[in-house]
Amino acid sequence: MASKRRGLPEINAGSMADIAFLLLIFFLVTTTMDVDTGIARKLPPIPEEEQETPPEIHAKNIYTVLINTNNQLLVEGEYMDISQLKEGAKAFIDNNGRDPSSSENPEKAIISLQNDRGTQYVTYIRVQNELAAAYNELRNKEALNKFGERYIDLNKTQKKEIRKMYPQKISEAEPKNIGGDS
């Protein structure tokens, strides 16, 4: 009965930490804290039937961007490569009446985006991205001028002020078929 006297040998729990660590590392690695990112947009509400005719907007305050089935851009009636769109949009928004055929001021400037049913989604997103970039760069410039900080580092009221100066007005027109069938 020697064993009885000795009692049950204690299980060595020293390696428990190692096992737990192993599991921990497994979960650490597999956890994907995938943050969803994207371009946020607001859709216009469906117009009500008895709505009065909307206020007239001067044609010069509208920057039309058309994308056709072949993913080509027609900006203000002229063919344009997508790489030039940002600069073009910036020049239009920040025109401030310099060019009489372009926008009066950033608050009145509207970008009208129209696409065809056959346009590829990736092109559409690229255009949206370029237009958003144009606005962001202008806001950034203004923020640096006014507050000496980048737009994202501003506080809420300052952001609001900048946003009021450069409101992002991108209108996505009612679906139309432009340039060929889908």
Partner: protein, 155 residues
């Protein structure tokens, strides 16, 4: 002197590591609980387009996802390879979106409804036709806050 010698003789007491497993287990449980397994199985292949001007989406519980893409290989035999819409765990037609938004709304608190966002997770190769249809349906359902899901990157 004797006092000090006494201390020296004892040496540093070993730090007990007995509670180490407990700490590690705590961390382990934290990660096990926070790991979210993807709740929907995707039947469509979606590679979202790249963009630079992206924003992080907040409040994931208030986001309804609309997947658009061509069916995955396994499903192509029965569904073809044309782009389709997936809502929750099944393929859907454009007309079902309004109903989908309505059921999503029912599950939420009334105060939260204005903050609900519809996230369009569409594949790069999808044509705008289907997206336009989805957008029109969302407008009809009065779900005006949308988000085009994109990855970070440039072309």
């Amino acid at each position: 002197m004797s006092k000090f010698r006494k201390g020296e003789k004892k040496g540093m007491p070993a730090i007990s590591t007995a509670s180490l497993p407990d700490i590690v287990f705590m961390l382990l449980f934290f990660f096990m609980v926070t790991t979210v397994m993807r709740e929907t199985t995707l039947f469509v292949s979606v590679v979202t387009p790249k963009a630079t001007e992206i924003k992080k989406m907040e409040k994931k519980s208030l986001v309804s996802y609309i997947y658009i893409g061509s069916p995955i290989k396994r499903m192509q035999a029965s569904y073809g390879s044309a782009a389709r819409i997936q809502l929750n765990d099944a393929f859907a037609e454009v007309g079902e979106i309004q109903e989908f938004i309505a059921t999503e709304r029912e599950a939420k608190d009334e105060k939260e409804i204005p903050y609900m966002t519809a996230s369009i997770k569409a594949d790069e190769t999808v044509k705008m036709g289907i997206i336009t249809d989805v957008k029109q349906e969302l407008r009809k359902a009065n779900a005006l806050k949308i988000n085009y899901s994109t990855r970070k990157g440039t072309y």
